[in-house]
Amino acid sequence: MSSSVKIKTLTIDERQVGAREDQTILEVARENGIKIPTLCYLKGLSPYGGCRMCIVEIAGSPKLLPSCMTTVEEGMVVSTNTDRIKKYRKNLLELYFSERNHVCSVCASNGYCELQTMAQKVEMSHVHFPYMYPHLGVDATHERYVLDHNRCIACTRCVRVCDEIEGAHTLDIKDRGIDVRIITDLDHPWGESETCTQCGKCVHVCPTGALIERGKSVGEMSKRKQLLPYLTKMREAHE
């Protein structure tokens, strides 16, 4: 650590913690064993602030802020698990389920899915909102991988790993809000992509069954979660 980096002191869930001034609340919380749930955040990729699961309350601010995007400040008083936050997290998760066709029982990632686990974690008994049942396609044109829009939560981990780690930038997003979609190249079928290196990093960082290896059946698609931390560590070692 260079001597110019300042140290800040703050309170997270009634615990006094110290942090470097450039750290986010999420990083500091995790360093101190305080669990904040996340879906789009993945250590080793740039933070995105999209999933909103990591929202926290900061004393003096009426807004809930994403802890993955909020840097620490001196004297901050942060709460990570109030009733208000729990309610919002549950509502958010129900919206995820209502917006696409997440049929867990017939998913390749059944039993390995972060969305499924998160529903359990936030004690979601059922989805209060009406399901939308959108008509979404599956891109199975790639010889090794399948992109199933029905199961995508638009966390953009795949987009970020493809760009930031693999350097291919095959994956991207189009449209906004509820219409947001993952695309390959300029919205062409994945199998025709000239930029895809077939590395499969996107598949292994995908939290759900939206990206899977071709041929994997129900409950067969476990992801190699150690892939990204390993790559990041190796890179740091070479720098």
Binding site: F97, C104, S125
Partner: protein, 177 residues
């Protein structure tokens, strides 16, 4: 001896897997039978849904006009209604037809997959709704028992807890799928 509770089980738009899982409680069925009388079920020969049922395990999504009538009737006569398994809780696999037009669903079901058949039956059978829905879309549900199917252990646990007058703590025991 304590008075037995009345248990009904119902099988709507599901695969009967949840009922298979109920039977999977194995020898504990004897304990279940000591607490409950099964008054209506695919497993017993009773035609009409009875009055004053204590607990109903409702398997399956709501997919036809008949299902809607039935679920409303069940709600009226049941103290504790359990959405039994993912189809009842989320509409699950039956809902995979929901983003197709009904017309295309019929074509696929009756014509394309049955070579030589050119009839789509439309009389004397329940009318398919535009979509398959979870149970709570139509009526209030008291307990959501997730799983495809829910495990025998969780079914047994739920039935015992309710009989003991407790609310089953299912959030950490169960999940979708």
């Amino acid at each position: 001896m304590k008075k037995k509770l009345k248990l009904a089980t119902l099988w709507l738009d599901g695969c009967s897997g949840c009922h298979m899982s109920l039977v999977d409680v194995d020898e504990r069925l004897i304990e279940v039978a000591e607490i409950y009388d099964i008054v209506f079920s695919p497993l017993v020969d009773v035609k009409d849904f009875p009055e004053n049922v204590d607990v109903t395990l409702l398997e399956g999504a709501i997919s036809t006009d008949e299902d809607v009538e039935m679920v409303k009737r069940v709600r009226k006569s049941t103290k504790t209604l359990i959405a039994f398994g993912d189809c009842a809780v989320t509409s699950n696999v039956p809902s995979m037809r929901n983003h197709f037009k009904l017309e295309d669903v019929f074509k696929r079901g009756y014509l394309e997959t049955t070579p030589g058949n050119d009839i789509i039956p439309d009389e004397k059978i329940p009318k398919l709704l535009e979509k398959a829905y979870p149970v709570h879309h139509f009526v209030h549900v008291d307990v959501f028992l997730q799983g495809c199917p829910p495990s025998a252990d969780n079914i047994f646990y739920t039935l015992v807890e309710i009989a003991e007058g407790r609310t089953p703590e299912l959030s950490l025991r169960t999940r979708f799928g």
